[in-house]
């Protein structure tokens, strides 16, 4: 991914900043530029998500795309955040046999990949099993 294309989304990738529509209160992550419910009368503003949620579904990637061979096999999942939106994420610090639908997870800040040997290092969100609440 090119530098400007990555840089443009750094807030969302680093800090899980989505959008909330001031009109209907819907929360979006990944961020949208336009509220599909309110359309022209919608107005979107930044909304920081807490980064807690649970696994809705998952898979274990065994034939990885370029740049992910070092971490293969790895878990990818869809996580539903407490605030409602769902996102696609790698799930780390969990054994491939340990993951299950409904598992509580929390966001961590990790390296996603790099642009060759001399290019940009991409950081962003991944999720890991959440510690049990006391």
């Amino acid at each position: 991914m090119s530098i400007p294309r990555f840089w443009r989304n750094i807030k969302s990738r680093y800090d899980l900043i989505g959008k909330q529509c001031k009109s209907c209160k819907s929360i979006y992550f990944p961020p949208r530029n336009f509220c599909p419910k309110c359309r022209r009368i919608g107005e979107l503003e930044d909304y920081k998500l807490k980064g807690k949620g649970e696994v809705v579904t998952y898979t274990i990637i065994r034939t990885p795309p370029d740049g992910f061979d070092m971490v293969s096999p790895y878990i990818m999942g869809i996580v539903e955040l407490e605030e409602g939106p769902m996102l696609t994420t790698q799930i780390v610090d969990a054994d491939v046999n340990e993951i299950y639908i409904g598992m509580p997870v929390e966001r961590v800040f990790r390296k996603i990949g790099e642009d060759g040997d001399a290019g940009l290092i991409y950081y962003g969100y991944k999720f890991r099993p959440a510690p049990k609440e006391e």
Partner: protein, 384 residues
């Protein structure tokens, strides 16, 4: 919509066609369709071509011009349409609309993809661009991975089994045995599927459609004009297309491709038909779970019952509704841009009674073509 006649059909052999270039593939399918219609190239009013990624697969954009030029059809207007794996379905629909608008009497709808001129890695990356590049693929998600997540959730919600997924593949490979154009002529067993290498759990290699070169072409005509060429054409009586979120995670339900439901509703309404009227169908089984979700979304079976219906043999030839008599994407092959057109070819052959050993008894059929994990779906209904 006014019904539109299908007057010519053309296909290439599907497979790893190393001897055939992109150009040769579409010229071969196009020539076969023109010959089948018993017409001349000069009768054509316009051309629509489904092609997912000439840019990445053969470093060529401006496919529309390339096709008109190399097929010797200049100066006929030529337009490329793209919706990933649903590009072919879009081409058919554009041709129907061009005729229904009154602008043209005879329109070509073709589809072509040349996928083996690049290494497998590049092909896989290209297919992943059908997903949300920034918020799915970039994070390590693969295209089989998306369908795997759909399968996992379907198993969790409805009790669909690993074996039921495998049975889709087994059936489609069996059907392909009787299709000379299919990529594979190899019967497989449930055991072979569930012991094949894991690609993205729970999906294995034999759950996935292959990388395929191929082209398909249909010639459509207004009802009035069709009579100049054929006596009893097959008609397309309904067409539906719908969009949904490009990313799977934004979908209302992970296990329902709502674009399929909406496209089917439009097509049924236009054809004044219902799911229960359909007697044969070609559906988008890019992955085995895709067929199960499709036969539910199209209304052939209740939500969640697609797996058990497959297990009970209801989608076999001779079953309640034969699905993917051609072998489907899994065994006939999946040259992405050509698939939606090839589906129409198969249903038209079935309705004409020209499907050879795989012939089923049907007067009404349906095609279902999906782009990405369900961002686009196109449905067509054909009648004798």
């Amino acid at each position: 919509m006014n019904r539109v006649a299908v007057i010519g059909l053309g296909l290439t052999k599907f497979g790893e066609m190393w001897d055939s270039s992109f150009t040769r593939l579409f010229v071969e399918a196009g020539a076969a369709a023109v010959e089948d219609a018993g017409m001349d190239g000069k009768d054509i009013g316009a051309i629509y071509i489904g092609n997912m990624s000439g840019g990445r697969f053969i470093d060529q954009e401006h496919i529309s011009s390339l096709i008109a030029d190399r097929a010797g059809l200049n100066p006929i207007s030529s337009t490329r349409v793209e919706a990933a794996c649903a590009s072919g379905g879009l081409a058919v629909r554009q041709a129907i609309m061009a005729i229904n608008s009154g602008m043209h009497d005879i329109v070509v709808a073709g589809g072509v993809e040349k996928m083996t001129d690049v290494l497998t890695e590049k092909t896989t990356q290209t297919l992943a661009t059908a997903s949300d590049t920034e918020w799915e693929a970039f994070l390590g998600m693969t295209f089989p991975g998306l369908y795997a997540m759909m399968a996992r959730r379907h198993m969790y919600e409805y009790g669909t089994t690993r074996e039921q997924l495998a049975m889709v593949s087994v059936k489609n490979h069996r059907n392909a045995m009787d299709n000379p154009y299919a990529q594979y002529h190899t019967e497989i067993t449930v055991e072979q599927v569930i012991n094949s290498p894991l690609v993205a759990d729970p999906l294995r290699l034999l759950d996935c459609s292959p990388i395929t070169d191929g082209a398909a072409c249909v010639i459509l005509a207004s009802e009035k004009k069709a009579k100049d060429f054929v006596d009893n054409p097959v008609y397309i009586t309904g067409s539906g297309q719908a969009s949904s979120t490009i990313s799977l995670h934004s979908r209302e339900k992970i296990t329902t491709v709502d674009a399929t439901v909406n496209a089917a509703e439009e097509a049924y309404k236009r054809a004044k038909k219902d799911a229960k009227d359909i007697q044969v169908a070609e559906v988008h089984d890019a992955f085995t779970i895709g067929e199960i979700v499709a036969i539910e979304g199209l209304g052939f079976f209740e939500k969640g019952k697609g797996g058990i219906a497959t297990e009970e043999g209801l989608t076999e030839r001779g079953g309640k509704i034969p699905v993917n008599t051609s072998g489907g994407l899994k065994a006939k092959g999946h040259p992405v841009g050509a698939t939606g057109v090839a589906q129409v070819v198969e249903i038209a052959l079935q309705l004409r009674g020209e499907a050879g050993k795989r012939q089923v008894d049907a007067d009404i059929g349906l095609t279902h073509n999906v782009g990405g994990s369900g961002g686009t779906a196109v449905v067509h209904i054909l009648e004798k």
